[in-house]
Symmetry: none
Subunit: 230 residues, 2 copies
DNA sequence: TGTCTACTCCTGTATATACAAGTAGACTAA
DNA sequence: TTAGTCTACTTGTATATACAGGAGTAGACA
């Protein structure tokens, strides 16, 4: 038997996930919820308290309780699998592989990956979608030394990120965040010409640099966030 | 007058910050806290509830409440004074004050700053330049409670950031990073229509939210970077 | 027409109380 | 000695109640 406040919590999150209650929309008042579920106001309030501290709802004294204005947000402080991230928001993930091949790196890339500029590196190019809306264009280059079977992977079942963290657990990463206009190829894949957050991320395993990824997120559909305490 | 559960919350966080209660250590039970502060158990519990959802404490039914085992978070986005940052690159910093005034916040801003929507808040608007090239447009709103003399400052000598860290030392911050197209006013001030990194940053001092800043960096002249180890 | 007041609805805080349920230790009976 | 039980203490859930305080609105009043 589930706690009653959890039942109410489930109800509210369902309403939001099904789009019945939209961002910024006012939801039932504490008293209305209490009557609807035949519980005391304090129990209904507890459900709302929970969702507030999770950032799903926001409350305003005198006004009511509202669905938080969430756009997808991911943390700069952690490297997450985008499929998991989307799933954790209760949304549907889908991926599309645009290319997977060996390429000869240009000088800049060779330097970033710390390989000779006449060697081959693996390259994959994917689009990641959340509820069928493109939220990331991923251009990734791999040092074959650390993931020799990279080209044989099926990246619809497992994102490159997830695969790499298995075969070459990451020990270090750096990244640069910029705002750019997507070029033709990227704008087409993302179906948007809105400015993009471009994240250039290098990841290390114990023995060296594993991959360089260029991640493009449409600025109107994706945000990065973080919280710091001092 | 502060809410009683906040007093208890402060007490607990103080104990932890001063190292009197160490990670994994058991703290007072709800009933002990209630007696100690002459409140009901539910009020003491509320303070603990809060700290649990913030990840400061963990509870275990039948056992008690314990200080969470906090792992230090790598500070990717450290809050730096832009003037110092530019100086540290050996470049010349210059600032320009576009506006400094009291304004009535709209609802969104009032909510972000946690003030009433009919109260006045301070507003400053500056452009920061590196070698005479605009690299940041800063729109900042202040809760007057924490910096009553804000409007009297000369922000050419001392950036808002530097002033605030003196009068209301920051204890916490959050931020959201997006890519946007600068609107007319901002494009004019930055002398660029290139996509911008927009950072929305809220900063806390011990007693509440001090400021909300909207920082716009031209994407072709400014980048954010960071390095993480795992 | 504009302003102030009173009222209503909402969230915020606080209390006293009750019982459920997990944990550990002490105590008891085989 | 050991297995089981009992008890004390803890957190978890739930309720009824009370009053404080913010926000918006309708109506009285100048």
């Amino acid at each position: 038997m589930q706690a009653r406040y959890l039942t109410i919590k489930d109800f509210v999150t369902d309403q939001i996930e099904q789009g019945i209650w939209e961002p910024s929309e006012k939801i039932y008042s504490e008293n209305e919820l209490a009557v609807k579920f035949s519980v005391s106001r304090m129990t209904a309030r507890k459900a709302i308290d929970n969702l507030c501290s999770e950032g799903v709802l926001v409350r305003s004294q005198g006004l009511g309780t509202f669905v938080a204005d969430l756009r997808p947000m991911s943390s700069l402080l952690e490297i997450r699998n985008i499929a998991d991230e989307i799933a954790s928001r209760g949304h549907q993930y889908s991926g599309q592989v645009l290319a997977i091949q060996s390429v000869i790196p240009d000088k800049t890339l060779a330097r970033l990956l710390d390989v000779r500029s006449d060697s081959l590196v693996y390259h994959s190019c994917l689009v990641h979608r959340e509820n069928d809306i493109a939220v990331q264009y991923e251009d990734r280059f791999i040092n074959p030394k650390f993931a020799p079977d990279y080209l044989q992977q099926n990246f619809l079942d497992q994102t490159p990120n997830a695969y790499l963290s298995k075969v070459a657990p990451l020990t270090e990463a750096d990244h640069v965040v910029e705002a750019v206009l997507p070029d033709g190829k990227i704008a087409l894949a993302l179906n948007s010409t809105y400015p993009c957050l471009k994240i250039t991320r290098r990841t290390w395993c114990k023995s060296g640099i594993v991959s360089v990824a260029y991640l493009y997120h449409p600025g109107d559909k994706y945000r990065l966030g973080g919280h710091l305490t001092f």
